[in-house]
């Protein structure tokens, strides 16, 4: 039977922006300002992305994200939310971006949208279709999943996920929290938990104190606006007052419990980066926040054919682009964490530059105007990007730490129930398997509902090490339509 994608509602726009976080919102504002017709698509019910994860519209929160770090972002969010020129398609995933193959056509791209939450298993309307002359992919990032024994146990969460419960749902999701990682975000989340009345057993950094402190002087560059040293000082002071220990050269070895988290085994990390299992300690807690790094959401960009390269400390597969943020696919632009995780203010600047590039390609401004308009954001970008890159290197614990945590009993692919040991055995038996995509066929790693988002980093790293090749050679899982799960029934318009 031929698969026909049902078109329930088809709409057309000049610029489709995928992702309504800082990059997408900044791009929308600039593009609309030059007369570009803009449609933003996002999975969440309200814009803001993860950095500005809003409470639901039914809530009234009087001092939501009152910290000055969020000021610029909140202003941007307020402006675009009130901007009548913008079209929004919320609670929709983009399952695929297709080129119509005829660049002379009015709308050379088709985006297949999948409404979220009307029944993940296929209930509800058919996917919508959005036609666009230009596409900007600003799909953001998610907390890097790190494989260690017990990481899938209820109670273990991405620190960003814990933060979203506090920021958006106004819920403290646990009684006693522990944070382990290498990224300064974990201090911010620990502080938010303490301020909301939660108890934090500790914040563990894998790095040395000197390396972490170099980072702590400037965590806001990674998280938001630059030069907010006072912010960090305030956080550290509040944590100290609350009796929360911040420890260095310590990390998580395993999460323990039967049906939920009861304790975390921690170990020292030596000056050479080696963990010392003989000096393990146990800390009781019911919630562990894991906070090492972030992984770019690159699936959609790769599905669209955008050239990417591997940079582990900046998010894994990151989209290549030119000075205008144009990707390798003509007409497709990229901005924000998709191009390397660097924080919200860099994301917003990239969004502005991409919008100027789109406006020029769409003939709204001429080439000379475009150069003139992009001059300031480009200058700000080059200054901040260099700094952000240095900081993301400081925040990166080194891949060898992950190699050590990835012991044989650790779950590798949580969807398919595959452990690190099982994959190692299979790869040992099949020395001809040398790419991530081949390993997927062999082991089913990456075939589950998360579509490889939670195992690709560990698998890529494990294979690179076992084969003695760079990660780039292992390659990514081939990213195909749909970039997020859609039921076959829904695609062919049969909801029964």
């Amino acid at each position: 039977m031929a698969m026909v994608i049902t078109v329930a509602i088809a709409v057309a726009t000049e610029l489709a922006i995928v992702g309504a976080g800082p990059a997408g919102m900044a791009a929308a504002e600039v593009a609309a300002g030059h007369g570009v017709e803009v449609t933003l698509v996002d999975e969440q019910a309200v814009p803001g992305g993860q950095f500005l994860r809003q409470p639901p519209p039914q809530f009234g929160v009087s001092d939501w994200l009152g910290d000055p770090v969020y000021r610029e972002g909140r202003r941007l969010l307020e402006r675009v939310s009130a901007d009548r020129r913008l079209e929004w398609i919320m609670r929709s995933s983009v399952a695929g971006i297709f080129s119509n193959g005829d660049d002379d056509g009015d709308e050379p791209f088709t985006l297949v949208l999948n409404p979220v939450g009307e029944g993940d298993s296929g209930e509800g309307g058919a996917p919508r279709q959005l036609s666009a002359r230009r596409v900007l992919i600003a799909s953001g990032c998610f907390d890097l999943p790190v494989a260690f024994p017990g990481w899938t146990l209820p109670g273990v969460m991405a620190a960003g996920g814990i933060q979203a419960f506090v920021k958006s749902q106004q819920l403290v999701p646990g009684k006693r929290f522990l944070f382990a990682g290498s990224h300064p975000l974990q201090l911010v989340v620990a502080d938010q938990i303490v301020q909301a009345g939660g108890s934090v057993a500790g914040v563990l950094f894998a790095q040395s104190s000197s390396r972490a402190l170099a980072l702590l002087k400037h965590p806001s560059v990674l998280l938001g606006n630059a030069d907010k040293l006072s912010q960090t000082a305030g956080i550290l002071w509040r944590l100290r007052r609350a009796g929360v220990p911040v420890r260095f050269r310590q990390t998580v070895l395993s999460a323990n419990g039967t049906d939920s988290l009861e304790s975390v085994t921690t170990v020292p990390v030596g000056p050479d980066g080696a963990i010392d299992s003989d000096a393990a300690e146990e800390i009781e807690c019911d919630r562990l926040g894991v906070c090492f790094a972030f992984s770019t959401s690159s699936e959609l960009a790769r599905q669209a054919g955008v050239d990417c390269r591997w940079d582990a400390s900046r998010g894994g597969w990151i989209a290549k682009h030119d000075d205008n943020m144009a990707s390798s696919v003509p007409g497709v632009f990229v901005a924000g964490e998709t191009t390397g995780v660097a924080g919200s203010d860099i994301a917003a600047l990239e969004g502005q530059v991409a919008a100027i590039g789109c406006a020029a390609e769409l003939g709204k401004i001429d080439a000379r105007q475009a150069v003139e308009l992009a001059r300031l954001p480009r200058r700000q970008l080059s200054r901040r990007a260099r700094f952000a890159r240095l900081l993301s290197e400081l925040a990166w614990p080194g891949a060898s730490l992950f190699d050590q945590l990835m012991s044989d009993s650790a779950t590798l692919c949580k969807c398919e129930g595959l452990t690190v040991g099982m994959l190692r055995t299979q790869l040992g038996r099949h020395p001809d398997i040398r790419t991530a995509s081949a390993a997927k066929l062999l082991s089913r790693a990456g075939m589950g509902l998360c579509q490889g988002r939670y195992c690709h980093f560990a698998l890529t790293r494990l294979m690179a090490r076992q084969l003695g090749v760079p990660e780039e050679r292992v390659g990514g899982f081939t990213s195909r339509f749909p970039a997020k799960p859609v039921s076959i029934g829904r695609l062919i318009g049969d909801d029964s």
Partner: protein
Amino acid sequence: MGRLISDKIRRGRAVSLSVNGSTVTAYEGETLAAVLLAEEVVVFNRTASGEPRAPYCNMGTCFECQVKVAEPGSAAFRWMRACVTPAADGMTIRTGERLSAPERDHHGNGNNGGNSGGD
């Protein structure tokens, strides 16, 4: 294992839903993940091999928080991601249900589970 913040917060209208047969009060705008954590639900679902699972990413990416949901007035239960599904009056939710088994026999991988899996 969760506690709602009440200082300087006004939640949405109170709604009533059923969680594993008990009536639970929630507030419009809350996600099912928040409702269930506030109700001390620990295991959201179990994998085919019985491992317990619960929210990890809380942003719709990981699919660890799936629960069985019947819409108001419906008896048809469907798997939904609790973190992106808003609570609605009259919803029925079942937690701890088992996900169906992946087909793991194509490459002879089915018997490899014995030497692992211990947390």
